[in-house]
Symmetry: C2
Subunit: 338 residues, 2 copies
């Protein structure tokens, strides 16, 4: 039994006493408590792969920021790794894959991942659930197949992801095969997270915004849709960053909640996505402002979402140099809003 | 007198025998003739600052690709440099500013640039005009104030430009002061380019897509509008990449042509921007495809723009590893389209 299930009720479109709130990347670099744990380790991946510590940093924002949900501390790139493509996380630079998928024969070096190949995250969720003891729900997550595909082809972050986009044109068959393998792995992984206790899950399509609409439909929406259809146990949130051109397709997904980035027009989203709970969408840079600015921008955002099922959040992950006091002020402003 | 003024007539909303075509970044790394010139030099900036050579690479795509316009070879960051902030262009990494604007006192180290401080570009345009001898028009260009501001604060490229966006919240006064200085410098520079012979000019707002709509209006549209109002001599194109949320504001600019990126829905843009010529918007990654794919995607794009004044282009600068034959095929397909 959960003491605070606001976020689950909001996701299901039920009435809530107030708007629930959490923050993308709330478990991470902004908290001194996180940095203290992280400093003892060799790197980011050691933290992801050590269930007790991953659980500890997952719970920190519940204790220190007062959020209405914990999101499991992990990374979307655990999926390609479980499929057989190792990655390294380079401090201040991002992920690097020494080996990538370039041809059909490269598909032989990878496989569809099973949940038990990601036992560190599954275990971390179990520990988190136990330690939270019902205080707030736990959110599981995974990357959307297109975003994972983009890293597996490109081998690193990129401004244009032109290698990954090139593959969609030059080898659509291989692209679909790989997307299917990622999708199957992701479904197994999310189901494992749910069995371990995740109360809802979010699918992050971080690189949604760089595809033309027709390709986004063919290579991304199709696979996100397969994931949404498979996950019937708990509410599902889809956050397709920058995919303003695909809101009509997103409306037809069998997900409960849609995340909005800070560019999205709230009034338009309310109208178009009248069958979904909406999540978001304060510009994370607002949290660099004065207390007055944080309060007023948060209230203005809440005013705009009025009359719609809403989970308050930022429109992007919180930036690492944000003062945690400002994050807490954002959260407190949501909680105190009438 | 110009032999081929298709692009100018299309920009002015006049009838043309066929759709004119050029390619963003057509003068550059895709051409072996460019790389031959570049290989003899110490770096990118030497090419920008040597008028004879800048003119030579400006004309190359007219000779080798058959485009309907030459765009002067230069960089948007010449403006901050002329204002007093030097930059370095690091191969494969992008620009770095050793010194940036962080506080009001930093404004004392810079000044409003005059066109004669950018005499190398002005001179390059004069040489280009002379050598082209009326074959096609010459396009001049500059960055939009928000994009230039973003580099002057951030000091380098960035995925989030969170430092630049932070400044808009924490010091709007300084932000407006700097925007005004950039705007004034840009107007002087564009007028200098026009006096030297530029037949039209384009304003690139490369980082338009990362601002919330209200900030985009306050900190970008306002200054682009000032530029558009000042440039009455020749047609003006505004390319605000990713600014789908601001099309209504862009409609009200006193520019002639609006560039569309490859995410933009052509039908919606035609309806909303019925007072503008539209430019774009093929996904540059299409040029990685087969000849059949290039032809069919180009024709499909032209079909969609039918009935609207249109200048064919990509929706982004051509990517450096694109085969020039595919670029030529794109251009020839536009020219042969009925």
């Amino acid at each position: 039994m959960l003491e605070n299930d606001l976020i689950l009720r909001a996701a299901r479109g039920e009435k809530t006493e107030r708007t629930p709130v959490w923050v993308m990347r709330q478990a991470g670099r902004i908290l001194p408590e996180y940095r203290a744990v992280r400093a003892k380790l060799s790197g980011f991946k050691e933290l992801v792969e050590t269930p007790e510590l991953a659980a500890e940093v997952t719970i920190q924002p519940v204790d220190h920021l007062g959020v209405d949900a914990a999101i499991i501390f992990s990374d979307i790139l655990v999926i390609p790794e479980a499929m057989g493509l190792q990655y390294e996380m380079i401090e201040k630079k991002g992920p690097i894959f020494p080996s990538t998928i370039q041809s059909a024969s490269d598909l032989n070096k990878i496989h569809v991942a099973q949940a038990d190949e990601l036992s560190y995250t599954i275990e971390a969720i179990k520990i988190t659930k136990k330690e939270l003891n019902g205080r707030v729900p736990v959110i599981g997550f995974a990357g959307a197949p297109w975003t994972i595909f983009a890293y597996m082809i490109e081998g690193a972050g990129s401004k244009t992801f032109s290698k990954a986009r090139k593959m969609l044109y030059t080898n659509p068959e291989l692209s679909h095969q790989l997307m299917e393998m990622i999708t199957e792995s992701t479904i197994a992984y999310l189901k494992g997270q749910i069995e371990a206790g995740a109360d809802m899950v979010q699918v992050f399509d971080s690189w949604a915004g760089i595809l033309p609409a027709d390709q986004y439909r063919e290579f991304s929406i199709r696979y996100i849709s397969a994931i949404c259809k498979s996950i019937t146990e708990v509410p599902v949130t889809v956050f397709a960053k920058g995919a303003y051109f695909a809101l009509k397709d997103i409306k037809n997904l069998s997900c409960d909640t849609v995340g909005l980035d800070w560019n999205m027009d709230i009034a338009e989203a309310k109208e178009l996505l009248n069958n979904k709970t909406l999540q978001g969408n304060l510009d994370p840079c607002v949290l660099y402002g004065s207390d007055e600015q944080v309060i007023s921008a948060t209230q203005s955002m809440l005013d705009q979402f009025k009359g719609h099922h809403h989970i308050a959040n930022l429109g992007h992950g919180v930036y690492p140099d944000t003062n945690p006091k400002k994050v807490k002020l954002f959260i407190d402003t949501v909680k105190g809003y009438n």
